[in-house]
């Protein structure tokens, strides 16, 4: 744990290939699906074909990317020691809803593909269904966000204090049980 990074060489040395990929990929799923909904709605309301076509391709990309989001999510869970408690309840719901979300996204994508191949435009029922999927995705995103930002899941050194403020005591998140503290490394961070 050093000071401010001043050189490119040092920055390169700090680069870690072992970083969890799930937090990266979830944003592709969220962004692509949201963009698809936006473009489809805009294309439908403004009657602009190019926007509808963009809506289809962004949805197709979201569906493909979500396969990797799910896989990396499972890998993240496999690397996460977590005791029974509040955080794990969030995690369990996040895991279950993740696969359910993937299922409804897949079905919606098949529906959208049929519309695209027929050369038609989306309909109100499709848009309503897509909004429903967006609601599920938002709940899923909320659960995942809480896991990271409230409980520190997969955040390396989640107990690390700010440099120069040794007096600051952080409240330990509920990720680990009190009876089984996680191993700590030299810097006091969680392993």
């Amino acid at each position: 744990m050093g000071g401010t990074v001043m050189t490119v060489g040092r920055a390169v040395k700090l680069f870690k290939l072992g970083a969890p990929l799930h937090p990266i990929l979830v944003h592709f799923t969220i962004a692509l699906f949201s963009a698809s909904l936006f473009f489809d709605a805009a294309g439908f309301l403004l009657v602009i074909t190019s926007l509808s076509v963009t809506g289809w391709w962004t949805l197709a990309a979201a569906c493909v990317l979500t396969i990797f989001t799910v896989i990396t999510g499972v890998i993240s869970r496999m690397n996460l020691p977590i005791a029974e408690g509040e955080a794990r309840s969030f995690l369990r719901s996040h895991m279950a809803l993740g696969l359910i979300f993937f299922g409804i996204l897949l079905i919606l994508t098949i529906w959208r593909a049929a519309i695209w191949r027929a050369g038609g435009d989306v309909s109100w029922p499709y848009l309503m269904a897509a909004i429903g999927v967006a609601v599920v995705m938002s709940i899923q995103g909320y659960l995942g966000g809480e896991l990271v930002y409230r409980y520190g899941a997969e955040v390396e050194g989640d107990f690390t204090r700010l440099n120069g403020n040794k007096s600051i005591e952080t409240t330990a998140p509920a990720l680990y049980g009190k009876m089984s503290p996680p191993p700590t490394d030299e810097s006091g961070g969680v392993g």
Partner: protein, 272 residues
């Protein structure tokens, strides 16, 4: 082959894809079950050979759909899977019930805690799907004297019904501890009835009824998949000790069988 297409693939090409996916799902769960028992009987390797052969034959057929010999290989692989599944059913029954202490006097117990009695039949079902697909790719309109469309609808109904029975007995073992465990006994059962009615009394029931029920069944498969993953994490340690809980938790991919069988029915409804 049928003239209707979806994303440039015809009905029997989609069925080929579904064979590959369904075989993968089946073998993943078979691996967990057979590895748990330590492969103590060498015949426990058979589904992987038979299933692997089926996947390779289907991939060949998918790549070269108009070449006759690939369809012939798929037929051979299909028959191999059918026979392997039936033998597996006998083995599961013999070693899982008959040979166990108490035998048939403890039938319910062994149906719940022994080798899953209907799981090997799933391989036979996929084998039959391979046979039908091979016939379809060879432009033959019938199999065993029945229209391919009728055969596929019957296969969808039978396979879903088997999955419902297997899920029913295992969810009963789990005491239906979550209300969602009743789901396999609801919409999929209605889908079975609808598919059966479409076959037996064509006409009165619009195809939209089985179509909606099959879409919902497909969705229920994913709900079950998510809930089974959640079930892993209810075990001590959850997925952090993945292999142990993969073996001891609910079958990881079994709910996706519902989605796969429903997809077969949907291919029939929309493309055949």
């Amino acid at each position: 082959m049928s003239e209707k297409q979806f994303l440039d693939l015809e009905a029997f090409q989609w069925l080929g894809l579904l064979i590959i996916i369904l075989t993968g799902i089946l073998l993943a769960d078979a691996l967990a079950g057979h590895y748990r028992s330590g492969f103590e009987n060498r015949s426990q390797y058979t589904p992987f050979l038979s299933g692997g052969f089926l996947v390779i034959a289907t991939v060949l057929t998918f790549i070269l759909p108009s070449v006759v010999w690939t369809s012939t290989i798929l037929e051979v692989a299909g028959w191999t899977a059918v026979v392997t599944g039936l033998i597996g059913f006998g083995f599961h029954h013999f070693y899982g019930v008959a040979k166990k202490p108490g035998g048939y006097n403890w039938l319910l117990h062994y149906l719940m805690y022994g080798a899953p009695p209907l799981a090997p039949i799933a391989l036979s079902v996929i084998g039959v799907l391979g046979l039908i697909t091979a016939r379809g790719l060879q432009m033959e309109p019938q199999i065993f004297g029945f229209q391919l469309r009728t055969s596929l609808l019957v296969l969808t109904a039978v396979s879903l019904f088997g999955a419902i029975l297997q899920a029913g007995i295992l969810h009963y073992r789990g005491a239906f501890n979550n209300p969602l465990m009743y789901l396999p006994l609801t919409v999929p059962l209605a889908a079975v009835l609808a598919a059966t009615l479409v076959v037996m009394v064509p006409g009165p029931i619009p195809l939209v009824v089985p179509a909606v029920l099959l879409w919902l069944t497909m969705l229920i498969g994913f709900v079950g998949w998510g809930m089974h993953l959640r079930g892993f994490d209810r075990q001590m340690g959850g997925l952090y000790i993945a292999v142990f809980n993969w073996l001891e938790g609910p079958p990881a991919f079994a709910p996706l069988n519902f989605s796969g069988y429903a997809a077969v029915g949907l291919v029939v409804v929309y493309l055949l």
